[in-house]
Every structure is written in structure tokens, then in C-alpha cells.
């Protein structure tokens, strides 16, 4: 992952060059930046806007329209808690509430220790395991509020995979 401070100038320059002179690039450009930095740092956006001669406001216009873009760094693990229909009818709201209570954050926020970011997402494609959440790349199904919390505590103590219903 790039950082905004160090000698990542060249990497950023490379990103800029890939997009120079092309049309319809805003979303791909923003995704590339987010992929590289983990979020959209303000100073990077300003620089890119200047270099590619795109109004900064139009970058922000697009970035704020789409749910995917973030203006803050992510935690170490991203929790993707499914709020799709199948998960909803199997009680995913109760799980979301419990996770929020337990971590002391709401949707889109990151815990103070930088460990977890909570995202509420739609269908993760495993509705028959509803309710479902992903922590990083791992998927946990047939959750109850209590189990969801135990799973997360597992990451705290570095025992990932705890509670996976293999």
C-alpha cells in the first residue's frame, strides 16, 4: 500500500500517466487511487486533478456519488456484514446492531485501535448460509449475534477462523 508521505511520488506519477489523455476515466482513476492507498487522500486528489486537468470538484462529485469510495483509511480487517434480503429475513439487523454495540462503531466507521472497519453490504452470494458476514477474506455463515461477536473477538486475539462453521 502506498502512503501519502514517503517516496511514492513515482508510483502516483505512474497512475497519472496511465490515465493521461483518455476519456471517461474518472471512476477507474479513483478506484486505482483507492486500490493503491486504501482510500482517497485529499492531497493525492488535488495533485491528480491538477496534473490531468480535471476540476477537483468533479472528482469529488463522482467520488461522493458512489458508495465504494472512502475518504478515510480502512482498519486492518474490513467486516462486510450482509444486509441483503435473504440475510435480512434471517435476522441480520440484530447481528448488525450487536456488532455495532460490541465494537462501538456504526456503519462505515473504524474502531479506535484501527482493527476493524464495518461495512454493511448487499448479498454476498451465499444466501443459503444467511445471515452472513465477511471479515477480510473469510466468510462466516449461519450467524447469531453472539457468534458474530465471538468471531470478531477471535481476530482480536489473533485466532482467526474461530467459529467458522466448516
Amino acid at each position: 500500500m502506498l502512503s501519502t508521505k514517503q517516496d511514492d511520488e513515482q508510483a502516483l506519477q505512474n497512475i497519472i500517466e496511465t490515465f493521461r489523455g483518455k476519456k471517461g476515466i474518472t471512476i477507474s482513476l479513483l478506484s486505482k487511487i483507492q486500490e493503491s492507498y486504501g482510500y482517497l487522500p485529499q492531497e493525492v486528489l488535488s495533485k491528480v486533478a491538477k496534473e490531468l486537468d480535471i476540476p477537483e470538484a468533479s472528482l469529488y462529485g463522482v467520488a461522493t456519488f458512489y458508495a465504494m469510495f472512502r475518504f478515510k483509511p480502512l482498519g486492518k480487517y474490513t467486516i462486510k456484514l450482509c444486509r441483503g434480503t435473504a440475510c435480512h429475513v434471517q435476522g441480520s439487523l440484530l447481528i448488525a446492531q450487536e456488532v455495532m454495540r460490541h465494537l462501538g462503531i456504526s456503519e462505515g466507521e473504524t474502531t479506535d485501535d484501527g482493527l476493524f472497519t464495518l461495512e454493511l453490504v448487499a448479498c454476498l452470494g451465499c444466501c443459503s448460509l444467511a445471515p452472513v458476514m465477511m471479515v477480510g477474506e473469510d466468510v462466516y455463515g449461519r450467524l447469531t449475534p453472539d457468534r458474530a461477536v465471538k468471531v470478531l473477538d477471535g481476530y482480536r486475539t489473533n485466532k482467526r477462523g474461530e467459529g467458522n462453521n466448516g
Binding site: I27, S31, M68, C123, T144, P145
Partner: protein, 590 residues
């Protein structure tokens, strides 16, 4: 020549259930076995039995469910024949007639899912060995563009993205439109929050979609294609990229395809998480790098689409049907289905159904058959209440209309829509006010904000639903809700706003009593709405085991060991965990 194939379902639900450790074990114990090929495949469709292992010996298939690494080892140890333990795990078999899911498979017709769960999607040769790109070759070498369009038109194929517009007709419009170059777009935004059909096709058989687009491009005269895929589907994007590279290497994409002078290539555009971008004009704006706002139609994309040029846009599943139609002929396709709805439809069957999964049925099958014969009925023997079809744009079809056949017109007549393929079963423990609220909350957040009715109307509707589920609703609210729903439908520019009221309208129409119970009696019959329910402990039954007190996340339960416990209603957040955990069923909800 190896005549034995072992397949492990490695789609998302397989991975979630531990398919990778089963695969790992198999690859360890099968090492050096030249007679057996081990494959990672996409969704097999029997999602509720994951992890799944399929053994094919000389063309005969046996599918095992609930596999573990130990069972995998046992399977290999017995030369891939079922031992007595493994016999119990057989869910489908070409030979064993009594396997539990044989009927489920027999009821389905696999056109779109013809290769899903069978081929390794990262290997083009496996797709080719099952006929991929034959239709494309036939189209380019033996058919004129008009003949291709005519074939698709006569098949009766209609758009699978929701609206059901005849695909052949749409292609004809794009072909006839003036302007160069022309474009084809695959809509892989799959915005319905309870659906994963398109994703399963993209992950399990990407070549089907690429070939469908290539045939379309040849027919309409396009040279460039876009696949607009949600960024939330990284595996689908990865598989598409691999498939595109392999198709280019083989000369199915690029310049002068099959030496015919036809040039065509495809580029992937990532969607960035906005439901409205599934709407075609918004999607086009998004491809152009702008905010994804719909614009009025006409002009339709066929006339003026991406970069103002004629553009044909179809859904993933629509394209995946096309190669099959060209290969087997329009009349073979139109054998399946009803008079106006031909072919098959893929559904993600989920919710309170016993055995959900990815299914493909011939159009015209009654919903009841889908739920009972394929889905195995309702989990835990409860009563079915309704089926939700069409997601946020669709509606709830009540249990007394379960004989409705699955075709565009019949589903629309109920007030729901065919939609893209989400089919969520609701039982007596699902509250319709809650379901309506869920979808409205979704559409309200996803409204792009351009139309006041969509932006503000849905918000007002949501507020009313919240009042009702909080027990603060009045009877007038029900009429107001209905009126607002009609206004939002009328006053919105795009399909999002026009269909957003459907979940409310259908539940009001079929379940008005349940709304009234919320309003008049301040009760939620399904015991879902938190403000209208209350958890209590029956002190005569409570044995003081303290389990409930330990699981309660907010410390609402007090009591000494071996003495009756008590819930502090003011603290209780209605999570329901105490009731589930109580060993003597002493906790009740009213």
C-alpha cells in the same frame, strides 16, 4: 485418458463452508492418480449442502454434500465408491434413484447454467470442449447479421434484467440505428440486494457471456463491448479478465475474427456501488465516467447510448442464453416456457425455504412447484406466508397465489415483477411491514435524488412505515401511504422510483390486516417489530441456569443461580438470544 472427474464447488458459499480444505485434502490424496482429474468449479446450485464434491465416472455423476476433509479421504480410499458412511452423504446420483435431490435436478432445465459447476471457469479449453464459441463461429461464418437477429427474435428470448423486452427486437433497433461506431454493453451490475444469479454465471462460466456479447456485436454491427460489473464482485472480474485474455489468444476476440473481417473486443468497467447504475441510462453515464444519473428516454440507448452512439445493452443472463439459441436453434429454445415467456429463468432461491440455492427452471412452472419440489418446502415445517420476487422493484406474492406460473405477465399481474431472479420465501415469522420497510429503506438510500417524488416521496413513505412498526401509526397513515406510493410511481423518471413503491403496494394489497394489527392493536403478529414485542421469563418454568443472563448483550437479565430470572424491559434490545438459549423454553415473546 482419464475417465474420472472429481469436482469441488468453490463458489462463495462453498468457500464459506470449508470447500478449500476439502479440495486441499483431495489434491493431497489424489496426487499421482493419472486416471482422475480434480477440478475447482463454480456454483453447482445445491448451495445448502455445501461443501459439495461431485464424482463423475464414465459419464455417471454422484454428488456428495456436507463434505469434510476426512470424508474426502475416505472417498479416495474407497476408489471413489461410496462407503456406508458416504452413502448417507449422496444428494444426487445418476444411478442411485432414491438420492434426495434427484427430483430437484430433474425438474430443472440448464440452458444458462449449462456449464456452471461443471467446467473450471479459468480454462477456456474446458468451455470449448462443451461447445463454447461454436455458436459464434456458426454465426460469423454461416449466418448474416439479419439471420442472427431473426433467430434470436424467433426464439422468443426476452431480457432477463427485469423488464423482459424482446431481445431480438432490441438488437434490430441497434442494427438499424445510424451512427458509428456501435457498442454492446453487458449489464452486470446486479443491484437487487438478494440476488446472485449473474454473479454465479460470471464466476462459473464467463465464456457464455463473452460469446453472447460477441454474437450480438456481429449482429448489430458493433466493434467494441463493455461489461459493467460491480466492483463488489472481485472474483467475477478476475475470471472475466482471464476469460477475455484466453478468448483473445484463441482469436475469438480482436481484429479479423475467423478471418471474416469482423473486429470486436471487450473492456471491463467497474461499477462503484450505486443501485441506480443498473438502470441503463445511468449505467451509460457511469461508463462515461460521470455520476450515474438516469436521463429521460427516448432516445433509447439503441439510438443514442454510450458516447452518444447506438448501443445495445443486455443483462448477463440474456447474453448467456444467446449461444445456446444459435447452436440449437430458435425452435428448440421456444419448446421451453409459455406462449409469451420462452426458455428458462435462473433464480436465487433463498429465505425461509428448506433448501435454497441457484436454480434454473423452465418458464411457466408454478411458484408452488419451485418452492416445494425444488426448494423442499419451508424450513422447520412452518407455514409459508409469501414469496418476494423482483427485490426492491418487486413485490410479495401471497401464499394463496402460489399456483401462479413463473412467466412475465402472470407475475406482473400479482403486482410483483419477474425481476432479475431473486426469490425470497417468507414464512409466518416474517413481518410484511418489516419487509416493505427493508426495501424502502434500500431504495430511499439509493435514489439518485434527481426526481423530488423519488427522493422525498420514498422518504415520507419510509417515515410512515417506521411509525407503523413503532406502534405509532394511525389508520389514516395506511391511506396516505397508498397515495404517496401512487404519486412516487407516477412522478419518477426512471425505473427505480417507478417501482420503489411495489413492495409497499403489494403488501398493502394482500396483507392489509397485518398492517392494521400493527396500527390498531399495536402488535406485530410475526413478532419482528422490536417496539411491538416484549420478552418475558415465565418464573414457574425458569430453573435459574443463568444462561440467558450470560448471553444477554446489554445485561438486561438478572437473577441468582437456581432462582427465577427476570428481564428489565427498559434495557432489553429485543435481540432474541435469551429465548434461543433457554434450555427449558421459559422465555416468551409477545
Amino acid at each position: 485418458m482419464a475417465n474420472t472427474i472429481v469436482r469441488v464447488g468453490m463458489a462463495s458459499c462453498g468457500l464459506a463452508s470449508g470447500a478449500d480444505s476439502v479440495y486441499e485434502e483431495l489434491s493431497k490424496v489424489l496426487v499421482g492418480d493419472e486416471n482422475t482429474i480434480l477440478k475447482k468449479v463454480g456454483c453447482i446450485g445445491l448451495c445448502s449442502y455445501e461443501p459439495l464434491v461431485e464424482v463423475e465416472i464414465e459419464g455417471k455423476r454422484t454428488i456428495y454434500g456436507y463434505m469434510t476433509p476426512e470424508l474426502a479421504k475416505e472417498l479416495v480410499g474407497s476408489s471413489l465408491q461410496p462407503t456406508s458412511v458416504l452413502k448417507e452423504k449422496i444428494i444426487y446420483s445418476d444411478e442411485e434413484t432414491r438420492a434426495p435431490e434427484n427430483n430437484r435436478m430433474a425438474k430443472q432445465v440448464r440452458i444458462v447454467l449449462r456449464n456452471c459447476g461443471i467446467i473450471d471457469p479459468e480454462k477456456i479449453d474446458e468451455a470449448i470442449s462443451r461447445g463454447a464459441y461454436e455458436a459464434f463461429s456458426k454465426a460469423v461464418k454461416e449466418m448474416s447479421p439479419d439471420e442472427v437477429i431473426d433467430e434470436v427474435y424467433r426464439s422468443g428470448l426476452r431480457g432477463r434484467g427485469g423488464a423482459g423486452f424482446p431481445t431480438g427486437l432490441k438488437w434490430k433497433f441497434t442494427r438499424q440505428a445510424k451512427g458509428e461506431p456501435k457498442y454492446v454493453i453487458c449489464n452486470a451490475d446486479e443491484g437487487d440486494p438478494g440476488a446472485f444469479m449473474d454473479r454465479s454465471v460470471l464466476e462459473g462460466d464467463p465464456h457464455a457471456v463473452i460469446e453472447g456479447m460477441a454474437i450480438c456485436a456481429y449482429a448489430v454491427g458493433a466493434s467494441h463491448g463493455y461489461i459493467y460489473c460491480r466492483a463488489e464482485y472481485p472474483l467475477a472480474i478476475k475470471r472475466l479478465n482471464i476469460a477475455l485474455d484466453q478468448a483473445r489468444e484463441r482469436g475469438f476476440l480482436g481484429d479479423n475474427v475467423f478471418g471474416s473481417g469482423f473486429n470486436f473486443d471487450i473492456e471491463i468497467k467497474e461499477g462503484a456501488g450505486a443501485f441506480v447504475c443498473g438502470e441503463e441510462t445511468a449505467l451509460i453515464a457511469s461508463i462515461e465516467g460521470k455520476r450515474g444519473m438516469p436521463r429521460p428516454r427516448p432516445p433509447f440507448p439503441a439510438e443514442s447510448g454510450v458516447w452518444g452512439k447506438p448501443t445495445n445493452i443486455n443483462n448477463v443472463e440474456t447474453y448467456a442464453n444467446v449461444p445456446w439459441i444459435i447452436r440449437h436453434g430458435a425452435s428448440e429454445f421456444s419448446r421451453f416456457g409459455t406462449e409469451k415467456s420462452k426458455g428458462t429463468k435462473v433464480f436465487a432461491l433463498a429465505g425461509k425455504v428448506a433448501k435454497g440455492g441457484l436454480i434454473e427452471i423452465p418458464m411457466g412452472m408454478p411458484i408452488r412447484e419451485v418452492i416445494y419440489d425444488i426448494g423442499g418446502g419451508i424450513a422447520d415445517g412452518k407455514e409459508i406466508k409469501a414469496v418476494q420476487m423482483g427485490g426492491p422493484s418487486g413485490g410479495c406474492i401471497p401464499s394463496w397465489l402460489l399456483d401462479t406460473p413463473v412467466d412475465y405477465e402472470s407475475i406482473t399481474a400479482t403486482g410483483a415483477i419477474m425481476g432479475s431472479g431473486g426469490m425470497i420465501v417468507l414464512d409466518e415469522t416474517s413481518c410484511v411491514v418489516d419487509v416493505a420497510k427493508f426495501f424502502l429503506n434500500f431504495t430511499q438510500r439509493e435514489s439518485c435524488g434527481k426526481c423530488p417524488f423519488c427522493r422525498i416521496g420514498t422518504k415520507r413513505m419510509l417515515e410512515i412505515l417506521e411509525r407503523i412498526s413503532n406502534g405509532e401509526g394511525k389508520m389514516e397513515d395506511l391511506d396516505l401511504l397508498y397515495e404517496l406510493a401512487l404519486q412516487v410511481k407516477e412522478g419518477s423518471l426512471c425505473g427505480l422510483g417507478q417501482t420503489a413503491p411495489n413492495p409497499v403496494l403489494t403488501t398493502l394489497k394482500y396483507f392489509r390486516e397485518e398492517y392494521e394489527t400493527h396500527v390498531k392493536d399495536k402488535k406485530c403478529p410475526a413478532k419482528v417489530c422490536p417496539s411491538l414485542i416484549r420478552y418475558t421469563i415465565n418464573t414457574d418454568l425458569c430453573i435459574g441456569c443463568t444462561r440467558c443472563a450470560r448471553i444477554c448483550p446489554v445485561g438486561a437479565i438478572s437473577g441468582k443461580v437456581k432462582e427465577p430470572h427476570e428481564i428489565d424491559d427498559a434495557k432489553c434490545v429485543r435481540c432474541g438470544q435469551c429465548k434461543q438459549t433457554c434450555p427449558v423454553s421459559a422465555i416468551f415473546v409477545d
